[in-house]
Subunit: 160 residues, 2 copies
Amino acid sequence: MYRLTNSLPYMLNRVGVRMGDLFSRRIAGYGVTLPMYRAMAALWEVGDQRLGDLAAMTTIEISTLSRLVGEMKRRGLVTRTRLKDNARTVAINLTPKGRALAEELIPIAVHFENVAVRNFPSKNISDLKSVLAEIYDSLNSIEPEIEEVNKARKAARTKT
Amino acid sequence: MYRLTNSLPYMLNRVGVRMGDLFSRRIAGYGVTLPMYRAMAALWEVGDQRLGDLAAMTTIEISTLSRLVGEMKRRGLVTRTRLKDNARTVAINLTPKGRALAEELIPIAVHFENVAVRNFPSKNISDLKSVLAEIYDSLNSIEPEIEEVNKARKAARTKT
DNA sequence: ACATGTCATTTGCAAATGCAATTATTGTCT
DNA sequence: AGACAATAATTGCATTTGCAAATGACATGT
């Protein structure tokens, strides 16, 4: 028998939201929101990203991210420069100030995660992570199948 | 070395958002949003809930949920009745119409999840789920520890 | 019984979000 | 080269969100 509370999307959302919320509050004192932290940490990991790539990496909707990057630029945390060779794209980078802040926050994130999972064998956690990564990858390939209904609707709408 | 993309909150959020997004689109044709589905499925699983309990169960912020329940009531999916013996709380229930819609959507959710995880041994998935449940439970107990900084701030503010 | 405190929900309001349309640039076809 | 399509990012606008304040109801102490 089906139970929402035993379904995977529900369980993922619940833990994800809760952890995000706790971490949010942990870093609020630095004037940094969770999406901001994610953007900074993503840029710290892979610099010189285009907006679309950063959106994909952080799972932040692109227009939201555009404004977020604007705000971060205003605060002097990132630069956003049009490329000379392809001026419709933009390269986003951490400024020294942004990098310093990221490097201040990352240890907090590490500690947070350590505390959150300290009751579990590290094998369990690494298994968990690899399954999560695999599921994420597999979602791309099943997307068409899941959306069969939508595709039909879209097609009908397009014809009109 | 730290990588955002290998951190647990990030990975959870990424898979959760992606799955939620896909499922959202899958049920959009029924005029139902994802939070609405969650509320209905939660009530289907445990009926006669108070607003606060339903909020805890669905991880939806309580004022958001209050409005969502209002909308669902307007659509005839749920009832919201003040209790006679304790009129400050409210009991929320599915209407027959709401129940019927829930029972139409649940098989879709089941199918969605089956497709999403079909490439993985079911052992892996059940392990995944039990770790997720345990982590969630453990978060309550570590909350104070994670928030030590905030607590200090709050205490200071209260004294003022 | 009254005042004060606590609990559950709702609402006001400002900020955040996301879709669709717009702008700006590059790519392609003839 | 010129027209048209495609790509990338931004912005307009309506909706959604969440915090904090307000409301309404019960609980407790005197």
